[in-house]
Subunit: 143 residues, 2 copies
Amino acid sequence: MTAEDSASALIDALVRSTFRVTGVLTRIGAENDLSLTQLRVLGILRDRRPRVTELAAYLGLDKSTMSGLIDRAERRGLLARGRSPHDGRAVDVFLTPAGRELTQRLDVQIRHALAPAIGRLEPGQQTQLHALLEFFLEPAGTD
Amino acid sequence: MTAEDSASALIDALVRSTFRVTGVLTRIGAENDLSLTQLRVLGILRDRRPRVTELAAYLGLDKSTMSGLIDRAERRGLLARGRSPHDGRAVDVFLTPAGRELTQRLDVQIRHALAPAIGRLEPGQQTQLHALLEFFLEPAGTD
DNA sequence: CCAAGGTAGTTCGTATTACCAACTAAGTTG
DNA sequence: CAACTTAGTTGGTAATACGAACTACCTTGG
């Protein structure tokens, strides 16, 4: 097996893991009437109060897309808009108590759903995987 | 740090990696006028000739969604429908030569885009990460 | 053998996601 | 302070996704 091949195999595993995790997140989102994107929005807002453009940048979306996402989530009472005191143009976005609660419930569900797959690893392997992923993620790390 | 916390941290890293890889795939898809889903369709068809329902099952989508995805990709000449000789109801889907070419180009682009992140790991670590991901993916492994 | 039921795909209607372009309101700067 | 820039919204369009209803084709029980 050449170096090329093993890199390919790693990328393949990485992509399959990605789709596996995405599938879990999508399912849990759907069970709570949330798209994957809305789920991500809530996840980002857990510990941030970004303005609309920042949120769009995190997600790699256009600001006009953000407007719609925020509208729908706001209508559901999950988050709210606030005007920045320093910049009259800026709108920042934050979780409502209801949104925070839902986010916590989602967290539990996600942990629960991924537990079997993670449980296939020994505790030592889990630590190792975590460390390797942190390396993989290292710079340019938003979200 | 309790076992709970370290599991949380691992899941966090896993989810962030997922979004990182998804971002890369989405960008490369967009550069080739493909949605993430269409990219996945091509990826699956690389080494399979599934019927519509199987494809939908792989992707976790409804068959009606598949119809549309296949329509659009077929119109672009990337894949084609064939009737199964054994079951007159069934339609199987396969890459055209053009689709296969595009898929190979995508493959190269994906490898290229992920190379920097993977390159942050020593060759030994890459092997290790690969092994751990295979464990993580172990059963129920479609796609 | 064929009527009843099940399976494979498509079509239709609707909501969401996403983009771009055009717009308004609010800062910033020459 | 006029000209430019930036933040966000609005409107138009295409793709994605679902569910329900439909057609065509198996499969089976009487």
